[in-house]
Amino acid sequence: MASPASKARVGSVFALRSPLPTSRCDPAAAADAPAAGSIAHEAHIPTNLWLAIYLFALPLESLPQARSGTSRSRASPIPVVVYQEQGRQSCIVDRNHTAAELGIHPGMSLAAAHTLAAALRAYPRDVSAEQQALTRLAAWTEQFTPKLAIVPPHTLLLEIAGSLRLFHGLHSLLESVRRGLLELGHQCRLAVCPTPLGAQLLARADGATVVTDIKRLVSAVGPLSIDYLDIGTKGLTTLRRSGVHCLADLFRLPREGLASRIGPQLPSFIDRLLGRQPDPMAFFSSAKVFKGTLALPTESHDANVLLAAARQLLLELVACLRSGVSAVSHLEWRLTHPSHPPTTIEVDAVEPSRDADILLELLRLKLEHFRLIGPVSEITLATSPFQHHAGESLEAIRGSIRRQEMERNVFLQRLRTRLGLGAISGIRLVDEHRPERAWRSCPPGEGGGGAVFSSRPLWLLKPPMPLKSRNGRPYRNGPLQTQPDRERISTGWWDDQPVDRDYFIAHGAKGGRYWVYRDLRHPESWYLHGIFA
């Protein structure tokens, strides 16, 4: 189901299949199975515990109240459906209780629904209203935890391990969430699991499943249908042909095969699902920002006067940050001149900060390289949205951490100021079989992620360097001796940059080791792609 909302998925969350799966797997199997994990064991609470809130009725609930008369109209005597254009057909995406009793179900065509219910009321789906509702509800759930993520189209993910005591245990927390959402007119299915993906899958499959022990994870998610995976009909067909119907079947297959036949994301998805690999989330924060303006006592050129005023604003900012558990990473300073257009100075901290001294030091470094066009009368500070700040419990040992943070920030700021933004970066992994795409640059400090391959060279050449070929062998300052083992990389047929290559390790005359490939589309053409430095 290609819902428009699915495009808005949070990047770090491997997309699950869209809202209401037209599951062709035996639903009974999916529903029965998690029962094994349904019994809550609160004795051992892992460090991370995720609550997934699956708002399965959001399409219906997002209709203007006048039409649906709130979700209570699920029980209204008039059959109501929400439909969506799919190709030339209109398909049902949601329906109320009365419509369901008449046999109308998601995935059915609108025409078929009309034949089942003469008095049917049909409304087109309003995806943007659903998104707004989801964002509103995310802001509402901030009362339970500061760590929460939106997983479009219909799921909220809350990290609740730290909130259990405050809410007197898991069951009372779940009850508060469920009751609160009902009052707001939303039905939901809840599931709790040590990994975010696990919680999502369980909430969508059944709900009311609680897994607190990571050891029980495999048995809890194993029986779920593979229909919940977003790997396209083609991938699903391939899996089904190999006799894979539920996740447990999938877990038994070798990673390499899965990666090459379905796509490189799948093994990593499984690792994150089962908690073998971390699954970082882009946390939601209800977009709080700070904006403040201060008039200088007199118009001034003097950097010290500016900094004193800036400090004042920063102290106000920090007070706001501390009232929530927040920090900021991007500041925009605007200097108003009486006789010129304003000057804007942007300051980026390496990591989100809530420390007035650090933020002030960063501004001071910027000002050092700045020629003011005229005296300044007023100074304004605006911030990027507040971000979640990790742990206040660190306050005690913050002395040394703060100094390190300060030094890291100041060091990077100094490099950026002299060398330019583009000269400084980090690197990270990307789940990709094409070697040139298996990495990308990223802001410093954000590296990580992705799959690791063995036998890769430490240097990569960009672009690959064409090599001369003599008698069918690569040549670079003398013939290169290729080793017999080759690695075939043949992938990328789904986009416009397919590769078909045989990679070899080759030795140069002086003993250097190189990573070379032969392009199978143009035999006899050799390239140098990496160096085992």
């Binding site: 100094r414 690791v452 160096i531």
Partner: protein, 219 residues
């Protein structure tokens, strides 16, 4: 001037009876190489030069086990003006935490030396790797860099061509690496606090974890 003062100078040659310098060493991850080096590893707070005949001979690979350990600490691993793209899958495969990798690519020669000195001196980098051109480097510059590495308590590694062997250098350690079929041979050209001019051969499958008790040894 008391002897104490001299004791703490690290740039004075003391012959083979060098007193135990309170210098930290960083296990290389290769037992046979550790045995060859004074302090039992890479010198921290000093420059190391690794000279090679050509690019694919394993000079960078030699530093990997130590870099992997250092990446577990909070400071940066800075790469100043690397000649190619440091390939993330290979680094991660060798155990380097990529979130600590900081690439600095200045365009001008002047900026390269400036960035290198800043990185060594800042105290925010556990290791600084650099690929200076021979035009970038004069002995005077090297001495400044050596002092910067001391100030920042960081392991500075310069990768240079084997031609640099003819020129003198204040680096604490100078090695020459050559490749053979399934390994590299490491020849110690100079090491401060040691007397050796020895060689050791390392095989490509030789890497091991440089000790679970942390990479730093006090000498």
């Amino acid at each position: 001037m008391s002897n104490d003062f001299l004791e703490h100078r690290t740039d004075i040659w003391r012959g083979r009876h060098a007193p135990a310098l309170s210098r930290q060493a960083l296990a290389t991850g290769f037992e046979t190489l550790d045995e060859l080096l004074p302090g039992g590893g890479w010198p921290v707070g000093a420059l190391t030069e690794i000279l090679a005949d050509e690019e694919g001979t394993g000079a960078l690979w030699l530093t990997m086990p130590a870099l992997a350990r250092l990446s577990q600490t909070p400071r940066w691993l800075a790469w100043v003006a690397p000649p190619h793209i440091p390939y993330a899958p290979a680094l991660a495969g060798m155990g380097v935490d990529l979130s600590k990798v900081l690439l600095i690519r200045p365009r001008r020669s002047l900026d390269r030396m400036w960035a290198l000195e800043q990185a060594l001196r800042s105290g925010t980098c556990s290791a600084v790797l650099a690929w200076p051109t021979e035009a970038d480097i004069e002995t005077k510059v090297l001495r400044r860099l050596q002092l910067a590495a001391e100030a920042g308590q960081c392991w500075g590694v310069l990768f240079r061509s084997q031609r640099a062997a003819r020129r003198s250098s204040p680096a604490a350690l100078r090695l020459h690496v050559r490749a053979f079929l399934d390994g590299i041979s490491v020849h110690v050209l100079k090491c401060r606090g040691g007397w050796t001019r020895n060689s050791v051969e390392l095989r490509l499958d030789d890497t091991r974890d440089p000790g679970a008790d942390g990479p730093l040894k006090d000498h």
